[in-house]
């Protein structure tokens, strides 16, 4: 706990920060380590009715009921033949108000980077639709490119309920 705190402090000071790096599709994605509570083997997931298919459902993780999402499916990175070997671990992500789980295929790694290595997304992706941009930044290493995610945006109420309304109108039509 102590060390994590320290790291967070440093990242705010624009110095070193530690990332959790995981694969989605063929790309590497990263999250600040402070956002991640734990990594657990994926438990049994119960589907929720009338939710977008990338919302896998809810699972019981240490007595907490947590919504689990498949970001590969959400980002359209899913390949048909990979279905069998995936979803082995769940990253439990926590903020003040939201708790959620993200499915990953392999155990994620940690990576130390300095703040200067993280490039702001605004410089790279000129997407007018900034509301739906889940990309916070890019980390460029020698031969790697890690996409920093704003993971809570992927599950914001707007985002979910817009898909939801879409479903609803389809169904009523």
């Amino acid at each position: 706990m102590e060390t994590i705190k320290e790291k967070n402090q440093k990242s705010e000071n624009g110095q070193k920060s530690q990332l959790i790096v995981f694969r989605l599709g063929d790309e590497e994605y990263g999250l600040q380590i402070g956002q991640i509570k734990e990594v657990v083997p994926t438990p049994h997931i119960t589907r929720l009715p009338q939710t977008p298919s990338y919302v896998k459902g809810v699972a019981n993780i240490r007595g907490n009921i947590i919504a689990v999402v498949d970001l590969e499916e959400k980002f359209g990175l899913k390949k048909e033949d990979q279905q069998e070997q995936k979803d082995n671990y769940t990253l439990v992500i926590e903020s003040n108000e939201v708790k959620m789980g993200v499915l990953v295929r392999e155990l994620p790694n940690t990576l130390n980077v300095t703040q200067s290595q993280i490039e702001d997304a605004g410089n790279i992706i000129q997407d007018g639709n900034s509301d739906q941009s889940y990309i916070k930044g890019i980390v460029k290493l020698e031969d790697r490119l890690i996409i920093m995610l704003d993971v809570f945006k992927t599950m914001s109420e707007n985002e979910l309920s817009s898909v939801f309304k879409h479903n609803k109108s389809n169904e009523n039509a």
Partner: protein, 612 residues
């Protein structure tokens, strides 16, 4: 009746003890800061309230005692009596006595000697008044008080002797004093009064002081909520542990754990229960006010007021009950003239009754008025454009009545303070939904109507039926379930795109829960299901509308601890919450009101477009 009286008595004792406690605190504060007028005001207010409450309950002794205190403080407030150490001693003694008097209410064996100190308070006030009247300094009376105080230290055995001596001394002193006084008469009176009272006062001051505690503890509801949550989690954890270890050890191993935890759960639930009488008794006033506004004669009958229900549920539904009662008076009961014309008693009867039943607490609001006018509701539905005349005619009485819970419905043409604005019944329904309850209406033209609320007796635990759909387990609250059927394929009829079943003469629409929940996987699954020999159907009912749910497999009945869905999936429809099963899996609790509402509204819009 005696039950109600005891309830009031307990309430009074608890309140009074609290007030005495406050009084003590304020007095201590005042002793340090005798000039604090705010504190004096507070004390005055407390004594006044206590006097009123006690008089209301018929406890004259306490009322008079509080009155004496009040008088004294009214003088202190007017700054005609100066607060001195001696007065404080008397005041503290008085609060102690007051506390004993309150305690004596619950403990018959306690004999409280209150007269002495009460007299002393009165004497202080009287003396003061005389002093003012005589327009002289209060020196002499203070002196006497000091003399009296010195004597207190002596043992009770010598009381008689000392007081004799003291009397003489007093007389001497008063004579002496009177020489210096202009108004001799007043002084004599004062002395006489003092002699007369002195023994009583002294007797009471020799008793040792004891600290007493109330038998009630006041706990904020928030703390109870917390406790209940923890117990809920404990139960879930217990079930998980038992399931994981069941294979390795004998079942008996966990019997004790099981027993202790469920005892704990029920004890905590029990703490939160209050008698519905607390709320019901407040309705006398509501009925009176509503009746006088409507110019009707109403007699309120309360039954089963000792029925217990969770405090939070009672709070949530209290407004709904008020609304239903006002409605019954406004819409249900006729005016005296109309009633007499129909050979009914001139005074309308409104019955409010509560009872415990298997699914929870049932509250009936029953009037013997004219009943609900089905034709008028039909006309209103058509007028509002919700349905066309033909459809409305075909609907059953229950279905028609269910429209009164639609937002914006009202048959009263004129708006008044009680009813007719068309807001209300939908709010009533929402409140009852929110606690997982159900409402039923039965009515008979000319004889009256009954609104029946079926409420869970506790919010924490829900009696549910577990079932399986697509390898996942779900729970449906028993409050909404009517029956469970196992039907052969041929008993289910397909009408247009809808499935219908026959149950006890009713044709009930039936759906595959899977189709509703996961439309994208419906096609191939329905085919699969149709090949099955029998279908399990759960008949649910909400607000007079019935629906059959086809499920894969029926499991057991179970009491569950429901938790709400949290962000980011808190908006998900058809699910009211989740629970964790013994095997650690998450079980979804189905929100029947939403399911039925959704299907019903859907058919409404279809109808509306057909009409257009």
């Amino acid at each position: 009746m005696s039950n109600k009286e005891k309830e009031y008595k307990d309430l009074f004792i608890s309140e009074a003890s609290q007030m005495v406690g406050e009084l003590e605190n304020f007095l201590t504060k005042l002793e340090k800061e005798p000039s604090d007028t705010k504190t004096i005001d507070s004390i005055f207010r407390i004594t006044h309230t206590l006097k009123g409450n006690a008089a209301g309950m018929g406890y004259e002794v306490i009322s008079k005692f509080a009155h004496a205190l009040e008088d004294l403080f009214s003088e202190i407030k007017n700054k005609t009596i100066l607060l001195e150490a001696d007065i404080f001693n008397s005041l503290f003694k008085a609060t102690d006595t007051l506390n004993e008097l309150v305690n004596a209410l619950s403990d018959e064996t306690l004999v409280v000697k209150h007269r002495g100190i009460q007299r002393k308070l009165e004497v202080i006030v009287e003396n003061n008044k005389k002093t003012i009247a005589a327009n002289k300094s209060p020196q002499s009376s203070t002196k006497k008080a000091i003399t009296g105080k010195n004597l207190q230290t002596k043992t009770p055995g010598k009381t008689q002797e000392t007081s004799d001596k003291e009397k003489k001394l007093e007389q001497l002193q008063s004579q002496l004093d009177s020489h210096h006084q202009e108004n001799k008469k007043t002084e004599e009176l004062q002395t006489e009064a003092y002699d007369e009272n002195h023994q009583m006062i002294q007797a009471c001051e020799n008793e040792p002081k004891k600290i007493s505690f109330s038998d009630m503890v006041q706990v904020p509801v928030q703390k109870l909520d917390n406790l209940l949550n923890l117990v809920g989690e404990l139960i879930i954890e217990r079930d998980r542990l038992i399931t994981t270890h069941e294979a390795n050890v004998s079942r008996n191993e966990f019997n004790r754990l099981r027993r202790v935890t469920s005892d704990l759960q029920y004890s905590v639930m029990d703490v939160r229960l209050v008698q519905v009488g607390f709320l019901f008794n407040k309705f006398h006033r509501v009925v009176r006010d509503a009746a006088s506004t409507e110019k009707k004669q109403v007699d309120l009958v309360i039954e089963g007021s000792e029925t217990e229900i969770d405090r939070n549920i009672l709070q949530i539904i209290s407004d709904s009950l008020i609304h239903l009662i006002r409605n019954a008076i406004g819409h249900g009961l006729e005016s005296e003239k109309d009633r007499l014309a129909q050979k009914k008693q001139g005074v309308g009867k409104l019955t409010l009754s509560a009872r415990n039943e298997s699914e929870g607490v049932v509250i009936d609001i029953k009037d013997d008025g004219k009943g609900i006018d089905i034709e008028r509701i039909k006309a209103k539905i058509v007028q509002k454009g919700w349905l066309d005349t033909i459809t409305a005619e075909k609907m059953s009485k229950e279905e028609i009545i269910s429209f009164i819970f639609e937002p914006g419905f009202s048959t009263n043409e004129t708006v008044n303070s009680i009813s007719g604005r068309g807001v209300g019944m939908d709010v009533v329904k929402k409140a009852i939904d929110s606690v997982g309850g159900n409402i039923k209406v039965s009515t008979e033209a000319g004889k009256g109507s009954t609104f029946t609320l079926i409420l869970p007796s506790s919010m924490a635990v829900k009696a549910t039926l577990l079932f399986e759909v697509g390898h996942a387990q779900y729970a449906v609250p028993l409050a909404y379930t009517d029956a469970v059927l196992s039907l052969e394929r041929k008993k289910i009829h397909k009408i247009q795109n809808r499935l219908m079943i026959n149950h006890q003469g009713n044709t009930i629409e039936t759906i595959f829960l899977r189709n509703l929940f996961f439309p994208e996987m419906s096609l191939k699954n329905e085919l699969h299901d149709q090949s099955a020999a029998k279908w399990n159907v759960i008949l649910v009912n909400y607000n007079g509308r019935k629906l059959g749910l086809v499920v894969d497999k029926l499991l057991q009945q179970k009491e569950i601890v429901e938790k709400p869905l949290k962000k980011p999936v808190d908006f998900v429809r058809f699910i009211s919450g989740v629970t964790i099963l013994g095997n650690g899996k998450v079980c979804l609790v189905i929100n029947i009101p939403q399911v039925i509402q959704k299907l019903f509204n859907h058919s409404l819009t279809v109808n509306a477009t057909a009409v257009a």
